[in-house]
């Protein structure tokens, strides 16, 4: 039981870290067509995330892999039930990666325009659909005791799903704007902060809507009613979101970004903890729900994987932090003129 519980929390942590990290580049890509006015600004936007998107995306692979390894049944049903949205996310992520790599390789306006469209769609679509998917997981998806899905993609676009999707899109966009503010100077830097401040209002509104809708459409709050202490988790999420605005007002942009990272992480954990002990609730047949009791791998697998993760993940965080610090410079003319720029 303890081992399964540890894995349940680690599962949530990995998805949380993924959304914190990929959140900023998905968000910045979503802002792309609205923010970047000319070729130089476009290139600044590309180059602020160019060294990081790949490392961020690996957290998605790790989160997927951990789901597969620790909770194969949940992985099997989740991925086959959400077939259409997951593959659309995948196509979008493929085109996003290609847009980084290919855009600067041919000197033609039409070519660049095409990749700019893919850059936008490649970031906006995953941000939206991940929100929709997670909201639907929180409220349960219709599958039976044999793991057969009885819904459609249209059903996923229900009120709660859409609120979840919009919340992800807007929050990530703010996350991206703040990232841009840290990586740019002058006019772009100032505008990025303005964007973040405006987006903050919408993020807060959507966060309230999301929490209210959660109370209506899901039973996530049941766990919190049972154990009031757990309310610390959403409280940290909400407080951190409020702090973002205070830090922005004080010009402490790095702290604002970190604060939003904390907020994203705890809001994800809020959903995960609320689902406990379910990993994947079924709203068709509650008895069919995958829980950590009926869905976990064997004790030996969980132990070996825990050994791997406990050693490796802190190491990964250390060297990724080292790499981020190394490449955290402002994107200025010197960077844009270098051989390695996009």
């Amino acid at each position: 039981m303890t081992l399964e519980l540890i894995w349940f929390l680690l599962w949530g942590v990995l998805w949380g870290v993924y959304f914190v990290l990929d959140g900023f580049d998905l968000g910045l890509g979503t802002l792309f067509p609205f923010f970047a006015k000319n070729e130089r600004e476009k290139r600044v936007l590309y180059n602020t995330v160019a060294p990081f998107w790949d490392g961020n995306e690996v957290w998605l692979i790790a989160a997927g892999g951990i789901t597969f390894a620790a909770f194969p049944k949940a992985y099997a049903i989740m991925f086959s039930a959400l077939y259409a949205p997951l593959l659309i996310i995948l196509f979008a992520l493929i085109m996003r990666a290609a847009s980084f790599e290919f855009r600067n390789k041919v000197d033609s306006d039409g070519w660049r325009k095409m990749w700019d469209i893919f850059q936008f769609l490649g970031n906006f679509v995953p941000a939206l659909l991940f929100g929709v998917a997670f909201a639907n997981i929180f409220q349960g998806i219709p599958f039976d005791a044999n793991g057969v899905y009885h819904g459609s993609i249209i059903q996923l676009l229900n009120v709660y799903g859409i609120i979840g999707g919009l919340f992800f899109v807007i929050n990530f966009a703010m996350h991206g704007a703040m990232w841009l503010s840290m990586k740019s100077e002058g006019h772009i830097h100032d505008r990025a902060i303005n964007y973040a401040k405006k987006l903050w209002v919408f993020t807060v509104a959507l966060a309230i809507a999301f929490l209210a809708a959660t109370a209506i459409y899901t039973d996530l709050f049941v766990n919190y009613q049972k154990s009031g202490m757990l309310l610390v988790i959403p409280a940290i999420g909400v407080t951190a979101l409020l702090m973002v605005r205070i830090f922005l007002a004080g010009g402490r942009n790095h702290l604002a970004w970190i604060s939003n990272a904390i907020s994203i992480f705890f809001i994800i954990m809020f959903g995960i903890v609320g689902m406990f002990p379910k990993l994947l609730p079924s709203n068709l047949d509650p008895a069919a729900s995958v829980t950590i009791f009926n869905g976990a791998s064997s004790t030996l697998t969980l132990q070996i994987m825990l050994g791997v993760v406990v050693v490796i993940i802190p190491l990964v965080l250390l060297y990724q932090l080292w790499a981020v610090r190394l490449l955290m410079h402002v994107v200025d003319d010197e960077v844009l003129d270098s051989d390695e720029s996009y």
């Binding site: 692979i61 997927g64 597969f68 077939y83 290609a98 790599e101 290919f102 697998t301 990724q320 051989d339």
Partner: protein
């Protein structure tokens, strides 16, 4: 078509497309690491320009390798959910270990390496590319050990009708997998070698940057020679491994029907349409198959007629792809020896320089053929003798898989063409 067949087609499309990029990543990363080490050792700026030139091509290739890899991980869940649920305890953990130990290392250090020329010292920079090379090849190890469990399941006990891990060490030292790993990595390094050889030849013919490309050619010719030989050796070993663990696959590879001892190999063979024997069978080499499979002319080799019909792999595709792969695999060491012998005066051999760029696709083709033998030859099992492929697909509508195959094919064709166009463009541009 049913969901199983459609899912198999989709997996074939996505895995083969992914595997256009992976072998070059595995091989070229090591070559880059060697080149950069030479730069650090000698301080000669020519090597730095060499690394930057091949590095640019490496990155174009690398990006598509990364994104097409996620496709595969997703597909186990989206299209093969019955399989995922069945083997998650073992197969899933190998995938998760791959992601957490290799992909993070690879993606982080490739970024520092590519963007960090002015940010870190020469030694640290060189270490970054060695880490990338190590991580990519390590990821090959984990994924091949996962594949080996499908080929030859080991280290498990059956609990409630499902395999459960009981010996992790056995899983990661699966003899089938060790052989597969050696064969795959050797052949991938060969791809790295021919890529550098072919492009260097193109420039040498045009007298561009003679020093840089002669030197690249030399390094790659040694590399290609070594790994064309180890690939052949590992391939032979893998044939014996197949004989031991998957007799049906070996029999299909050779279109061998009647169990017997002292089994000959026929130079001319063609299976008949009814899948009961050979339509053509001529020019026997006495005892050759027994020797190849077991190093013993008297060894017994099981024929397809002794394997129940429903357990036989499709013979014709396995047989043809195997023959073609072996043909190519025999040609490469000869090519390797010739290029190695000519490496010092290669600029004078204009015919060789003209032909070489056209040979770049050959090792790629050989690798694709090899994987076809491995995967088609395992049928009808998804996990050998344990779970049939027909029982492994997701309970989803066939129409879902149809649209996703169409989407994958369109996107991949588009990206594949652009990638070849860009690689060609930047390869021909040379180090400016």
């Amino acid at each position: 078509m049913d969901v199983v067949m459609l899912s198999r087609i989709q997996f074939a499309v996505t895995v083969f497309f992914h595997f256009i990029f992976v072998p070059l990543t595995l091989g070229l990363s090591v070559l880059l690491a060697i080149m950069e080490t030479m730069y650090v050792r000698t301080g000669n700026e020519m090597y730095k320009r060499m690394v930057k030139f091949w590095g640019k091509l490496f990155i174009i290739n690398f990006t598509l390798g990364v994104v097409t890899g996620i496709t595969l991980e997703f597909q186990f869940g989206t299209n093969w959910s019955r399989y995922s649920e069945y083997v998650g305890d073992i197969f899933g953990s190998l995938l998760a270990i791959e992601a957490s130990t290799s992909f993070f290392l690879e993606s982080t250090f490739i970024a520092v390496w590519f963007f960090g020329w002015k940010k870190v010292s020469k030694n640290v920079h060189c270490m970054c590319i060695w880490l990338v090379a190590l991580a990519s090849n390590m990821s090959a190890f984990w994924i091949i050990m996962a594949n080996a469990f499908m080929q030859n399941p080991v280290g498990y006990k059956m609990v409630e009708g499902k395999p459960q891990l009981n010996d992790f060490f056995a899983v990661i030292t699966n003899p089938y997998g060790i052989g597969e790993f050696a064969h795959t990595v050797s052949s991938s390094w060969m791809v790295g070698g021919i890529f550098v050889l072919g492009i260097s030849a193109w420039h040498l013919l045009r007298k561009n940057e003679m020093e840089l490309f002669k030197s690249s050619f030399k390094i790659a010719s040694i590399f290609f020679l070594i790994f064309s030989i180890t690939t052949a050796i590992a391939g032979h070993h893998q044939g014996q491994v197949a004989a031991k663990y998957q007799p049906a696959k070996l029999a299909a590879m050779e279109s061998h029907w009647e169990t017997g001892t002292n089994v000959p190999m026929y130079l001319l063979t063609w299976p008949n349409a009814e899948n009961t024997g050979n339509a053509i069978q001529a020019l026997p080499l006495p005892g050759a198959l027994s020797i190849l499979a077991y190093n013993n002319p008297q060894a017994k080799v099981i024929g397809l007629n002794d394997i129940p019909k429903e357990d036989r792999p499709p013979v014709l595709p396995t047989f043809i792809t195997f023959r073609l792969m072996v043909g190519l695999g025999s040609f490469f060491p000869l090519l390797g020896i010739a290029l190695f012998a000519w490496r010092k005066k290669i600029e004078e051999k204009s015919f060789v320089l003209k032909v070489l760029p056209w040979l770049i696709p050959l090792p790629y083709i050989a690798i694709m053929l090899g994987w076809t033998v491995t995967e088609v030859g395992r049928q009808p099992w998804i996990v050998y003798n344990m779970l049939r492929t027909s029982a492994a697909a997701s309970p989803i509508e066939a129409s879902m898989v149809v649209w996703s195959i169409v989407a994958f094919t369109l996107i991949y064709t588009f990206l594949g063409l652009l990638d070849i166009y860009l690689l060609r463009k930047y390869a021909m541009k040379g180090p400016k």
